[in-house]
């Protein structure tokens, strides 16, 4: 009897510990998933507008130089980045988003708590069944099936043991630890590849904005040198120079590269936490890394491309 009580106590403690482990994960994983969704959305925008940038840059350059627009060249610019290359990245971003969402789902699953109550109920049922079975008459003259019933209750107890064992082996905390550790390499590689792409696209944006800034200044200077310069026209052109200067300045901090770096660091911190003994110190480290990621993601969201587009429209 004592042994049975001890088994139930161990099972209950293990379940409680499993539930606590997943609850501890809730905050960092929830934060990681939310910030990832923001960075992924921002990165998608950059990829979706990659060809538009080249196309617009060509048109703007032709306008600044007073040259004709060659439709063939315009089409070539529009196909700078192949549709299948963009699609591969979009798919990778979707999978990265799914990964974050699955982690959050696992961390928030009510399975452990619900199961804890259900397991307790099951244990009481088995105990009661065992008590009832012992009352069965098994001696001579009793139904022979009674002995089989008594034996059957033993089998049920074993089945219960197996269910508990199966449940405990799949407990959410362990699943989270294993998943995060195993996904370290592909997640890190994906983030690295995305970062390189965004950095390259940011360079293309930087040079395009620089050329527009230069063209705006030249237009202003040409007007200022004109005899006589028109004050109203000069005012309009001065506004264009200011807007282009703003755009040029903003571009340096607009790319989500810092957010992608923070995402990589946050995921590495999750990996370290998954491998650790889950002390308050390791928990604090992962929370700090995820908080830093959330801040970087919020900054990337604020620097969303629609703002740039609006500014650009004001110039035209």
């Amino acid at each position: 009897m004592k042994t049975r009580k001890a088994i139930w106590a161990i099972a209950a403690l293990a379940l409680l510990s499993s539930a606590c482990a997943t609850r501890r994960y809730g905050r960092p994983i929830g934060g990681f998933q939310a910030a990832s969704a923001v960075v992924i959305a921002s990165t998608r925008q950059w990829l979706e507008t990659a060809n538009k940038l080249e196309r617009d840059h060509y048109i703007d350059s032709q306008r600044a130089a007073g040259d004709v627009i060659e439709p063939k060249q315009l089409e070539e610019m529009n196909r700078t980045f192949a549709a299948e290359d963009i699609a591969a990245r979009m798919q990778a971003l979707r999978i990265l988003g799914d990964y974050g969402a699955l982690l959050a789902r696992l961390a928030a699953t009510e399975g452990p708590q619900e199961a804890s109550a259900a397991v307790k109920e099951l244990g009481e049922g088995v105990k009661s069944l065992g008590t009832t079975a012992t009352k069965l008459c098994t001696g001579a003259g009793c139904a022979t099936g009674n002995t089989r019933f008594q034996q059957a209750t033993g089998v049920v107890a074993k089945v219960v043991g197996r269910i508990l064992e199966g449940w405990l082996s799949r407990k959410a905390g362990v699943a989270l630890d294993e998943t995060i550790v195993e996904a370290e390499q592909p997640v890190s590689e994906l983030i690295g590849a995305i970062r390189q792409d965004i950095q390259s696209l940011a360079e293309r944006r930087r040079q395009a904005a620089s050329e527009q800034w230069s063209a705006a200044i030249r237009e202003f200077n040409a007007e200022a040198k004109g005899k006589p310069a028109t004050p109203e026209r000069l005012r309009v052109l001065a506004e264009r120079v200011k807007t282009q200067a703003d755009l040029r300045e903003r571009l340096a901090s607009d790319a989500p590269t810092a957010a992608l770096d923070a995402m990589d660091k946050a995921h590495r911190a999750l990996v370290t936490y998954a491998r650790s003994k889950k002390t308050p110190q390791t928990f604090s480290q992962v929370v700090d890394a995820v908080d830093a990621f959330a801040t970087a993601a919020a900054q990337a969201a604020r620097a969303a491309l629609p703002v740039l587009e609006r500014l650009r429209q004001e110039v035209l």
Binding site: A88, A92, L96, L129, R170, A175, W213
Partner: protein, 111 residues
Amino acid sequence: MPELSKSELVRMLGDVLTELDVLRASPDIDAASLKSLDSLRRKLDKAQRDLVKAMFQENTQQFKDSAAELKQHNDELAQTVDSIERVADTIRSVTKLVGAVEKLVSAVAGA
């Protein structure tokens, strides 16, 4: 001299392009110099675009490989989440079964 990575080269070309733009915006520049600078800029712009395009194409396989590997983890994780969510239901079903067996046993014991 350390070898430049492709990313560093893209960045370096960007720096040169922005410097050219500063020169081209100068009010003192003569028409002939401006024409030469315009031509140089177009060539460097094309070189940077082609380099970025090539890097993009090279990276695509990396994306496919890493995404496929991560998808496999996602599939396994989804199964784990499902199985964990199913465990509570399974235990509840077994509890009902035990209850039914107990009723049966009680009936036999009382008979």
